[in-house]
Amino acid sequence: MTADILHRPHRVWRLGADIDTDALAPGHAMKHGIDVIAKHCLEAVRPEFASEVQPGDVIVAGPSFGIGSSREQAAAVLVQLGVAAVIAPSYSGLYFRNAFNLGLLLLTCAEAETLNDGERIALDTTVPVVVSPGGARLACEPVPGFLMDMVRAGGLMNQLRQRGGSPDPQKASNV
């Protein structure tokens, strides 16, 4: 994912509160690879989501997104489907960890629920801010530079790969 994509308009998939890891990565599909799990992503809440979602789309949800189990696939499916970001007022703590480590951008936005399904929004990840179709700028909690780097790299594992195994001297100073 490049910063460029993040600045183009993103279609909103609007979901409710308490979207859990079982909705994102259904238990019955867990024995399969991530490509198969992705086909079942959110089938219980938005049956058309997995087939219609386009790379660059965003999920906008209510509070406590990603509650439930520690399964990493619940974040990996959204990366697999090309979701550019999740925007919600709050996340499960464990989901928050897993998402960034797998390269999924989570924006914590108090006013997320003012956005509507199907709308096109812009993201400025440097501030970060969500710009609604009407031009309203919804502030998000800051995401440290090293986590944005992890998102751009496609997760911790890719980042370690790119680094060729040697520690990044910049990392600590980025905080």
């Binding site: 703590g93 960890r97 440290p144 090293f146 911790l156 370690l160 195994g165 040697s166 990392k171 600590a172």
Partner: protein, 428 residues
């Protein structure tokens, strides 16, 4: 960035102070994301080498600091089949190849063995490749569990990122009555708040009833913070901590900085230890917990005293107090799998082990064993009462087994009578 104005420093929780130190800050704010240096990383035969070795090789990377790595073989020992032999062999070969200085092979369960060798000390930030890693919080260290990819990151960089947690303080007034333990406190809290009650924040156990607990009882509290859904389960260190660490041969540490400031922002829950009764969690969740009176008379087939949660020296002593001079009920199996060799030997010296054997206990290896369904899984359709931390369906082997959780007193009392029993009746 928070500025530390002399004389006007913001009140901080113990969790904030530990994370601030590890991230090289004067203070950190709740919700802030910081990178921390890791003081100690622990993993076992199941979570460690067999996953880390291929990934490290792919990266061509070296371990950042071998002196800060501790490897414990506890999940697949003693080896009983080809799979376990292979997994343990990978761990042993890798330990030799990497010349790891701290390896504990078949010495006991990681969460008990690692602190018993002084590797977890107040003020440290530690990670563990196991979900019960919050156990280390009993020593005033910030310790939490991570997956294998994150552990790889730690192995390569020596760092990990964290979102500074809120603190949920569990304050226990009063004193525990005889026959009531840290395990009962935990089952009570998990029953009340549920398995997500900790919201992946830091739980801190405090108050006179916590201060009065032995080090091993405190470890039981922190251990089951995992079942409370917390990232960490902290207890401020004190003289009890210092005495335990001195015995473990740890270098002396300054305990003074590691406490929650008065006035620090936190969620506070208050409990009365004096009125707590023994607790039992019924199948199939630790949150399905109620006072023992609700389950009195439930028939059991197996009483299991094992795991990092419930087979430390203090747990064995508690069981012996119930069983001294008695025999287990006819047809009941009592299995004892001490949490570490160290504790097993101490129990032997004290005569505690003999009391248990005389009562009819079968002694199992000092390893995870049946706790995670390995080795001698419980049979189909049987009812087990266990000192372990989890009773999910199938956890101890068979999906048709019914597993109840209780303290070592409660489990020993059930062994004696052949059914769920209030241990206070037997102790009286």
């Amino acid at each position: 960035m928070t500025f530390n104005v002399p004389g006007r420093a913001l009140a901080q929780t113990l969790a904030q102070k530990l994370i601030a130190r590890a991230s090289g800050r004067a203070q950190v704010a709740v919700g802030e994301i910081v990178t921390c240096g890791v003081d100690m990383a622990m993993f076992h035969d199941s979570s460690g080498p067999r996953r880390l070795q291929p990934m490290l090789e792919e990266l061509g990377a070296q371990i950042w600091d071998r002196s800060r790595v501790v490897l414990v073989m506890d999940h697949y020992v003693p080896e009983r089949d080809d799979d376990s032999r292979r997994i343990v062999r990978i761990a042993r070969d890798w330990a030799r190849e990497q010349q790891l200085p701290h390896v504990y092979d078949s010495q006991g369960i990681c969460h008990v063995v690692v602190p018993q060798h002084g590797h977890i000390r107040p003020g440290m930030l530690c990670v563990g490749g196991d979900s019960h890693s919050p156990t280390g919080g009993a020593f005033g260290a910030y310790m939490f569990g991570i997956g294998s990819t994150e552990m790889l990151g730690v192995m390569v960089t020596g760092e990990i990122w964290l979102r500074v947690p809120e603190t949920i303080r569990m304050w226990w007034d009063g004193a525990l009555p005889a026959g009531v333990t840290a395990k009962d406190m935990m089952l009570h809290m998990i029953g009340r708040f549920g398995m997500n009650g900790g919201r992946y924040q830091a739980v801190e156990f405090a108050g006179p009833a916590v201060a009065a607990l032995s080090m091993q009882e405190r470890m039981t509290l922190s251990n089951m913070s995992a079942e409370l859904g917390a990232q960490a389960g902290l207890i401020a260190p004190d003289a009890t901590t210092a005495a335990f660490l001195a015995q473990a041969g740890a270098p002396p540490v300054d305990m003074a900085p590691w406490f929650t400031d008065e006035g620090a922002a936190l969620t506070h829950h208050r409990f009365d230890a004096a009125t707590l009764e023994p607790y039992v969690a019924a199948p199939h969740s630790p949150a399905n917990a109620h006072g023992v009176s609700r389950y009195l008379g439930t028939h059991v087939d197996v009483a299991y005293i094992g795991a990092c949660t419930g087979a430390k020296l203090d747990d064995l002593r508690a069981a012996a107090q119930v069983l001294r001079g008695h025999k287990v009920a006819a047809g009941i199996r009592l299995i004892v799998a001490p949490a570490s060799l160290h504790d097993q030997e101490r129990a032997r010296e004290e005569g505690v082990l003999q009391v248990l054997m005389d009562a009819g206990a079968e002694l199992f290896p000092t390893a995870c064993g049946a706790c995670s369904g390995y080795g001698d899984p419980m049979g189909d359709g049987i009812t087990v009462i266990s000192t372990t931390a989890r009773n999910f369906k199938g956890r101890m082997g068979s999906p048709t087994a019914q597993v109840y959780l209780g303290s070592p007193y409660t489990v020993a009392a059930a062994a004696l009578r052949g059914c769920v029993t209030d241990p206070r009746e037997v102790l009286a």
